[in-house]
Symmetry: C2
Subunit: 372 residues, 2 copies
């Protein structure tokens, strides 16, 4: 008879896979259940590790969490590479926020003031300084902010490597769908179309599909991948606002350039639309005209798991034995390591560090829709 | 021992496949050689049968040829359907040329005058009449021309059906590349990587790859396919000029919408570029904004076989026994049936009808580059 599993992780995106790996490192017997690990939102993600660039004055808890995660990401990337023997494309080249007109410039200056109030490292750049750093920028760029600490990783390589590390640590895999099995208010395992798997603990990391147990909603994102074939590409991550739409350009080590992303409050939907591709290409080429020469290699759409306050839900779920690791929104890749660390702490009875403690699902107890 | 082939057709695009079928109908023993029949320019083609819409005052021979071909296409489509048992998506819904500003309107009026001088059926439409016929047109449309005789066919379905008809008529297929084998100024068959195939006649229908025997050049075209999934799509083929770029929108019976096409004088190149996709989507949505809601299902690039005077080369080649059927440029689908008819006449010693006789390759005898 098979040894029962200590923990079943539902969902093999970057969050679930990292949880499974770290739990197995604690000596636990872990099963990961996912019909196609890494094929969800992680497959579309651009991999920006950008809490400073994405700072909103109104979300201090998210900023604290993001800074905590970004601060440890280089070490995490190194550990994943070490454990898997695979590269993850971590690239500490910094992010350049650019302004295309006077309104943009004022907006960047305003954000920069708030960034500096938080003690964050940002640098004001003139138009000439922008172009010196990125000669491919459109001549219309009038100013910029350099964020040296906002780095990037390649989410596809990262999730592949984490899955490999998990497998080598003894995590078992079942390629199927699953739901927590609950009896008398307690998790008893996971129900799959092939039968039930017993386990005392279930980690729910199914992203936008976790609606039965968490107040998450799908937020559609469409993303493009361009390929250089030796053509010049930017050196930094470049972000800007074109026709009131935010756009980013993420150049990888291997010449790939990711362009994203739409934010559409739709149901679960993976359709690539003509209008989104048009807008993304228009806007990205407005920042970096030379991108027009690159190959359009891929367009994908996935659903991010949005949460009501943009903080993820990490902690005890609505039934005993259920641990949530969902609702990461745009930040699943960035927050994957700190989420896995917190989940491991919860499962092994340790304390969760403060920035992650703010993600306890209990803050939504009044949302009767999903609890009770 | 195998029976020797009477004719080998090199190239299984819409032109070569139609030649092979029609030759086999004459009782000839035909071999068609192509590594992937139907995967070249025919795979990208939009299938507009549009000699009137595409009329240039300076190319009367091409117009005569196109009108001759368009006049017989409905019968040809019916014959292909009959012979293959497959639909080809022939759709006689007419073409709407639209003007987005006063300059466009003047241009359309000018072309319409010349179209009427040729006795072609065209109808001037006001802005209101355009929108009455196509409610999805952008409100910026100020006038139009309806060309009721410019129809469409689905090139992918057509080439599939013609290949099936050819096979059922006894055409043999070899999935490989080939070149005419020539001894003492006479074709002796076809050389393939797997050995030589003997034949007294070779029909060269390799499109933009026929450079060794004909003055053709690759003209890159990038084309998109959108998918409706029940969304409203136009009823007519819609064509216009946006930012000085010609764009067309071809709605199929099944909800697919083809958007094309770039015209790039590049070497043989099947790379889809970001800039081309951006321009095609921008321009198509400028004519029909609702297209932005459709799925971007596919983007492909292929090389049309351009000729020096935009007329194809149909007739005796530079060595005895070689028959050319290349250089069809944008018109391979439209001209496929009349080309096959002419090639069959040439091979069986009949006369070629006048509009096709103008395509005799002899007109380029002075082009020593390709003729000895």
């Amino acid at each position: 008879m098979a040894v029962p599993h200590d923990v079943v992780v539902l969902g093999g995106g970057v969050v679930g896979a990292t949880c499974a790996w770290r739990l197995a490192e604690q000596g636990l017997h872990v099963l990961l259940v996912d019909p196609e690990p890494g094929a969800g939102a992680s497959h579309a993600a651009a991999g920006m590790l950008a809490p400073v660039s994405e700072m909103h004055g109104s979300e201090p808890a998210l900023l604290r969490l993001g800074l905590h995660a970004a601060g440890g990401f280089a070490d995490h990337a190194a550990r994943v590479q070490e454990a898997s023997g695979l590269g993850v494309g971590y690239r500490p080249t910094g992010t350049l926020l650019v302004a295309l007109d006077a309104g943009d410039r004022a907006r960047l200056a305003d954000v920069r003031r708030r960034q500096e109030q938080w003690g964050l490292q940002v640098e004001r750049l003139s138009a000439a300084q922008c172009r010196q750093r990125e000669p491919l920028l459109d001549p219309a760029v009038v100013a910029g902010t350099l964020v040296p600490g906002d780095h990037q990783v390649d989410p596809r390589r990262l999730v592949t490597a984490v899955l490999r590390a998990a497998r080598e640590r003894g995590v078992e895999f079942r390629r199927t769908t699953g739901e927590p099995a609950v009896t008398a208010g307690r998790v008893t395992g996971v129900r799959t179309p092939q039968g039930e798997v017993a386990a005392g603990r279930v980690v729910l990391a199914t992203g936008a599909r976790a609606t039965a147990h968490a107040p998450v909603r799908p937020v559609k994102g469409q993303v493009l991948r361009l390929r250089g074939n030796g053509s010049p590409v930017p050196h930094h991550v470049v972000r800007g606002t074109v026709r009131d739409r935010a756009v980013y350009v993420v150049p990888r080590e291997d010449g790939e350039v990711v362009v994203g992303a739409t934010t559409e409050d739709l149901g679960y939907d993976t359709t690539v639309t003509a209008g989104a591709v048009r807008d993304l290409l228009q806007d990205a080429c407005a920042l970096v005209p030379a991108l027009a020469e690159l190959e359009l290699a891929e367009a994908v759409a996935r659903s991010r798991p949005g949460s009501p306050d943009n903080l993820p839900l990490i902690g005890a779920g609505d039934v005993e034995g259920l641990v949530l690791a969902v609702g990461h929104g745009r930040n699943g890749v960035l927050l994957s390591a700190v989420t896995a660390q917190a989940v491991t702490a919860l499962v092994t009875g340790q304390d969760v560090p403060p920035p992650v403690a703010a993600c306890a699902p209990g803050r939504f107890e009044e949302l009767v829709r999903w609890r009770g």
